[in-house]
């Protein structure tokens, strides 16, 4: 009741305020390297990277309501495809990115097609995605061309700055991931305002109803999975070239899949700002907890608090923090 009232009251100023906020945030992020030190820059890169991945996951879960717990699969496929092409043939990452995205899209299509055709839903679908990711992890552990479990190392070139080859200082990587984040944001925004976006939301809210309305549920769910997989793979390419080493154990791990969606759930599933807000909150929470707990000298105490914070947040705001904050700020929807 009160929220709707607040939203209506705020309606006349909604657009300028939202746009202003967005513009301010974008400007701040664009200028960040001017005043941010190395450490802060690496934290910002981490935030943008997590926000980007969260947005990619959101395309599947938030827009079309398909719960994936195995998105590490697509990060790994993207990273390995671009990384291996670069290491073995010197193919630039931007081209490798296309290959990686294509491979991941295909993988997403397989997972989606099998899952949707056979009516695997909810938790079962989530477990299917985990199974595929773990299956692939073990496969890569045995695939010598990509270094098997010894890992794949990208050559590190010193003093070389090339945006085309993605070799360069952290500032460059910051702008790359910021660019990707903005692109993902614009893409999500645009899609949500088109027919496909409305169809997705209809499917998310009630699949059976959507079907009776004549929406081709299978087609649109597949579109969501494939889009999400492709976006995630691009994030994986960034990971590969930023960290320069890939191990199946770390890149395909379930922890990565979990980490990737935490921000979005905390921020608000299905919203545009949720992934960004959630990623920022969780990365900062992690850093603050490191600071607060390291003097205690108790290993593991940080993760305990982190777990408790997650618990409190989801119990307090199951829909995420952004929808609540939005009404608080009087931004409406």
């Amino acid at each position: 009741m009160t929220t709707t009232a607040a939203a209506t009251a705020a309606a006349p100023v909604r657009l300028p305020r939202g746009t202003l906020l967005l513009a301010g945030l974008a400007a701040l992020l664009l200028m960040a390297p001017l005043f941010a030190g190395d450490y802060l820059l690496s934290v910002l890169i981490l935030i943008c990277y997590q926000a980007y991945l969260g947005m990619a996951w959101n395309a599947m879960m938030g827009f079309a309501g398909q719960f994936s717990l195995g998105h590490a699969l697509y990060i790994g496929l993207g990273g390995y495809a671009a990384g291996a092409l670069f290491v073995h043939f010197g193919i630039p990452p931007w081209i490798g990115m296309l290959v990686g995205a294509a491979v991941a899209t295909a993988a997403g299509a397989v997972v989606g097609a099998l899952g949707f055709r056979f009516g695997v839903k909810g938790v079962y679908f989530a477990l299917l995605t985990i199974a595929f990711a773990e299956f692939t992890r073990i496969l890569f552990d045995h695939w010598d061309w990509v270094g098997a479990s010894s890992g794949l190392f990208l050559p590190v070139a010193h003093d070389q700055v090339s945006l085309w080859l993605l070799r360069g200082p952290p500032v460059m990587f910051y702008y790359v991931i910021l660019g990707l984040l903005i692109a993902a944001f614009v893409l999500s925004w645009a899609l949500l305002r088109r027919r496909i976006g409305y169809y997705w939301q209809a499917i998310r809210e009630d699949q059976d109803a959507a079907e009776t309305l004549g929406i081709d549920v299978f087609k649109y769910k597949m579109a969501a999975v494939m889009l999400s997989a492709a976006m995630t793979a691009v994030g994986g390419v960034f990971y590969a070239f930023y960290y320069n080493n890939l191990y199946p154990e770390t890149i395909f791990s379930m922890h990565r899949s979990i980490e990737l969606m935490l921000g979005t759930i905390v921020g608000g599933i299905g919203t545009l700002f949720g992934p960004i807000l959630g990623a920022a909150l969780l990365v900062v929470l992690g850093e603050v907890l490191t600071l607060l707990t390291e003097d205690l000298g108790l290993d593991g105490v940080k993760q305990i608090f982190y777990g408790l914070c997650l618990l409190i947040i989801v119990l307090w705001r199951p829909a995420g923090i952004w929808p609540w904050l939005r009404t608080r700020l009087g931004l409406g929807t």
Binding site: V43, D141, H142, H255
Partner: protein, 419 residues
């Protein structure tokens, strides 16, 4: 574990981590960065940024390494080196390791040290190189790390190829010393980055080294394996003389327990260079069955005075824990940094890196010649020793000049062991 840390941070940099954290919490994080680090005073202690996996799945080894680092401070102080540790937990996660490295550098670490696992070490090496801050690797065997042409990265630990080479050569020495030769071996290894690169090294080296035995079967197992019954059954079926293993700790215990149960008693259980069988937990869990297992690894040199000092201090400080090579190499890493700092006369990274390159430390704790780095930043003067478990204690049995006892080969059958 590290009470020193907070004070260092707040004393050395105008914007401490505490200030940053509070600022971040308040939402003002963007303003709290970018402040210049105050220039260094001449007589200040060396600040070593210690990056170790103290939580997460590698916590066991990370905490062991940390003990070596903690002990280095008082021991080095006695030698006239002032060292302060700035400890950071990598949480067994390369991403965290990278941010922590950035943070330590920002807070004024002169040199970084770590990180045990190759993935994190590789990530931190890049940060160190980009920032031009020296990085001394305590442990991390992936050969690729020192093949990148880094100028600021130094490794005082054998690569997996070196480990395999040193480890395999010792097989021959064991045969000679005992007058017994084996004809066949089965290689059982953990399939993680370390195990896999060891296997690669062994396969490449076997034909070159002219060893009298052949590997008749190779069995790889998942690092997450919950039990090794099937793996051991398979090894037993191969019916080889030597059971050659590349393990971690938990799987080493599972493996030997399973070997006893399945009554599989080869002539020897020998590792060409991997952790697991010399650790206290191994003895505690397996009792008499832990004996006669042999590991060919770089080990403490009983002839070195510093090794004795370290062992005494260790037994006093951590009577419950095992004194093994993780402690030794972490200690040596801090020693190397402190030694270079003294010669460089300042914490200037360039000067420190040059001093590190010119390192030559003869009084060390591990077996091998003086610590020196080649142009790639790799120490080549590292030697493996055959360390056999005798009477419930890892004992150096080869090389002869460092040996504390004679090697036993073949080992007695499981049933032939008293209580």
């Amino acid at each position: 574990m590290s009470k020193t840390k907070g004070t260092i941070a707040s004393a050395s940099t105008p914007i401490s981590r505490r200030a940053f954290g509070t600022g971040a919490a308040a939402g003002a994080m963007l303003l709290a960065s970018g402040m210049p680090i105050r220039s260094l005073r001449a007589a200040e202690p060396l600040r070593v940024g210690v990056l170790l996996p103290r939580s997460g799945h590698l916590a066991l080894i990370g905490q062991a390494c940390q003990r070596g680092a903690e002990l280095s401070v008082p021991i080095l102080a006695d030698l006239g080196h002032q060292v302060q540790l700035m400890n950071a937990d990598t949480e067994s996660n390369p991403d965290v390791g990278r941010t922590q490295a950035e943070k330590l550098i920002r807070e004024g670490a002169h040199v970084l040290m770590g990180c045990f696992d190759s993935a994190t070490t590789a990530a931190v090496a890049q940060v160190a190189e980009q920032k031009g801050v020296p990085f001394v690797i305590n442990i991390g065997a992936d050969p690729a790390i020192t093949e990148q042409g880094y100028k600021f990265v130094f490794r005082n630990f054998p690569t997996s190829v070196m480990l395999g080479m040193g480890g395999l050569k010792l097989f021959n020495d064991i045969f000679q010393a005992t007058g017994t030769t084996a004809k066949t071996a089965v290689l059982m290894h953990v399939n993680d980055s370390f195990g896999n690169s060891m296997r690669g090294g062994i396969e490449k080296l076997m034909p070159k080294l002219n060893l009298p035995f052949q590997i008749v079967e190779t069995i790889a197992y998942d690092p997450k394996a919950r039990d090794l019954a099937l793996e051991v059954s398979k090894a037993k079926a191969a019916n080889a003389d030597i059971h050659m293993v590349v393990t971690r700790l938990n799987d080493a215990i599972l493996m030997v327990r399973e070997m006893v149960k399945q009554q599989y008693a080869p002539m020897g259980i020998i590792s060409p260079g991997s952790p697991g069988m010399y650790e206290k937990q191994f003895f505690k869990t397996l009792g008499k069955y832990a004996n006669y297992c042999t590991t060919n690894v770089p080990w403490f040199d009983p002839n070195q005075k510093l090794a004795k000092v370290l062992e005494e201090r260790f037994e006093k400080a951590y009577p419950e824990e095992s004194f093994e090579l993780n402690i030794g190499f972490t200690f040596e890493a801090v020693l190397i940094a402190a030694d270079a700092y003294k010669r460089a006369g300042s914490g200037n990274p360039q000067a420190l890196a040059e001093a590190l390159r010119a390192t030559s430390i003869a009084d060390r704790v591990m077996i091998g010649g003086p610590i020196k780095f080649n142009e790639k930043g790799q120490n080549e003067n590292l030697r493996s020793a055959a360390v056999q478990n005798l009477d419930g204690k890892p004992t150096v049995v080869l090389p002869t000049e460092s040996a504390q006892a004679k090697p036993v080969f073949p080992m007695p059958d499981w049933k032939a062991r008293g209580a």
